[in-house]
Symmetry: C2
Subunit: 338 residues, 2 copies
């Protein structure tokens, strides 16, 4: 890159001191009693020379860069891509620019992105943490970095966090099925200790218990995040063996749902006649499935707003308190749960 | 944030000079003849104090930050989200970290992100430019910023660019239809001067001409990027009026295709019996449409690889030549074009 135009370059061109240029470009010409004419000239020359304020330097001086770093777990998943866009819109409303990184659900990438963002002097971070990253998050706390976890958190680490009402949402979805008299209800979830998944699983179990149904361990299949597709196919094959058919299946994420629907479609299973279905989160693909799908709709806009607002509040506070924000979701009814 | 641990802090703790610590942490202890024992101690103390190299300062000193800024047009579009992930994987292979921003197809956001990235000292940029951003791109050239355009470019601005064979791809798709004897072929595209769209439209027209069919202006509908959904519905309503039915429709992007398929589905039009269809790019939703969809498959991995490699080549070159890389695509045959 060519050399950046500096305040000194402008000062030399206009024939004034660098201090005067600095006052003008930082909007402090009145305090410094700079005349309007000379202030105008400085601004004009700065524009002509295409001066770009060095926000890193300004960040060091004023303590702010008005930039938020967002680390999502997998940018190629439409759920996170939508969330990222929503975060970006809310940040923009508040005068912040968002830079994203994608950790790909991998610990080393997560650490690398955290370092990259901190070295680039962002004012704070919004993170959807990956499994096993407790120590990375604890390190952030220790360093006094301003951050908010989103979508998921850790049981044992107290942090700012904004999440959906995961337990409540899955509880309500399963209750919908038990109230129609269905009892043999299976669940496919990801195999991860992260709280969002644990809360969804607990919501499912609690709804069964409250309906007087004893949970059977073979009703719950946990699939690994990597190569979940094969495992979803296997899980459905095992769960829908002839002779002990389930009444219904709930899926813990939209990726699992899309994959499960493909398998169900391919196996010729009729929804809802042979099997009732409820998904956590939606997908564009649902629109083309022969039956409309009942799903838990997270309020992504509210999650994003709350996360950005909580982060900004923390950036501005000297001794901020830790907050946990739970955002209510809703259920969109389709034919699949009839 | 708490104060960053500096080289000076480490030097004081170990009881050596800052120069010595700097040699060790930059892997230059041999050149500086630092003994192994003391080098080991410096590294140990640096790790204990959780020293993070200041990459901005290092970037200023060594001229590199090993960071690429990626500006995509709309992160909530699965096409760009997939591309972003692919860029990230390729960059990682080459030792670079990627930070993304989404311009939302908006000029001011595009400029803002360019400024944000440059102020954060990225080594170079990969950009899918938005309509009307020629002057932003020309400014980058003038400043000597290393960058590569991806997916789209400008007719009048010579830059590094990596694109699909847009003209060839759409030409082949329409030829597939004319060879089966279909002549009345419509197209729905975005209304934008960006080259990728212009090339796709020209490919469509050229294929018609070469098949001896005179193009009729009412066969081509250009919809605005914002609220394209309504416009796609209107376009299909106009194009499929009774009495002058089209034989086939080609769609210039996956977003347009998904929306068009919804409308076609809702109107009870039978694909391929009443209407043949070819899409540019794929979508997860296609899997649930009652007919398999024929689509042009861009080689996103190769586009990403080429873009990252071209950028890195430019970062390392002192007087790099401008390159235009065209990546071949393929057609995936489904029932919809029969």
């Amino acid at each position: 890159m060519k050399k950046r135009v500096s305040i000194k370059d402008i000062a030399e061109k206009v024939g004034v001191s660098t201090a005067l240029v600095s006052y003008v470009l930082n909007g402090k010409e009145r305090e410094a009693r700079v005349g309007e004419e000379i202030a105008g000239k400085v601004r004009k020359v700065a524009a002509e020379m295409n001066y770009q304020p060095n926000l890193i330097a300004r960040g060091l001086k004023f303590g702010r860069t008005n930039t938020i770093g967002l680390i999502v777990a997998d940018i190629s998943n439409p759920f996170f891509a939508t969330l990222a866009r929503s975060i970006e819109l809310e940040a923009q409303k508040n005068g912040y620019t968002v830079l994203f990184g994608s950790s790909d659900e991998q610990l080393d990438k997560s650490q690398n992105l955290i370092n990259t963002f901190l070295n680039r002097q962002v004012d704070g971070l919004i993170i959807t943490p990956v499994a096993g990253s407790q120590s990375q998050i604890e390190e952030l706390k220790k360093k006094g970095v301003k951050f908010v976890l989103m979508d998921r958190g850790f049981k044992d680490v107290e942090t700012n966090v904004v999440v959906t009402d995961n337990h409540e949402a899955m509880y309500s979805a399963v209750k919908l099925l038990t109230e129609k008299g269905y009892r043999k209800i299976g669940m496919i979830a990801y195999d991860t200790p992260l709280t969002h998944m644990q809360d969804r699983i607990q919501g499912y179990k609690d709804a069964l218990r409250n309906a007087g149904t004893r949970f059977k361990s073979e009703w719950l299949k946990k699939v690994p995040y990597l190569d979940y597709k094969e495992h979803v196919a296997d899980a459905i094959a095992q769960m829908l063996k002839k002779g002990d058919e389930l009444d219904a299946l709930v899926f813990a994420t939209n990726s699992i749902s899309v994959q499960a629907l493909k398998v169900i479609h391919a196996r010729g299973i009729k929804v809802p006649d042979d099997l009732r279905i409820i998904s956590f989160d939606e997908s564009d693909t649902f629109e083309f499935f022969y039956a409309t799908i009942t799903y838990i709709k997270q309020n992504l806009n509210e999650i994003s707003e709350k996360a950005v607002q909580l982060l900004i509040k923390n950036i501005n506070a000297t001794a901020p308190k830790t907050a946990k924000v739970i955002v209510p979701s809703s259920i969109v009814l389709g034919q699949s749960s009839k």
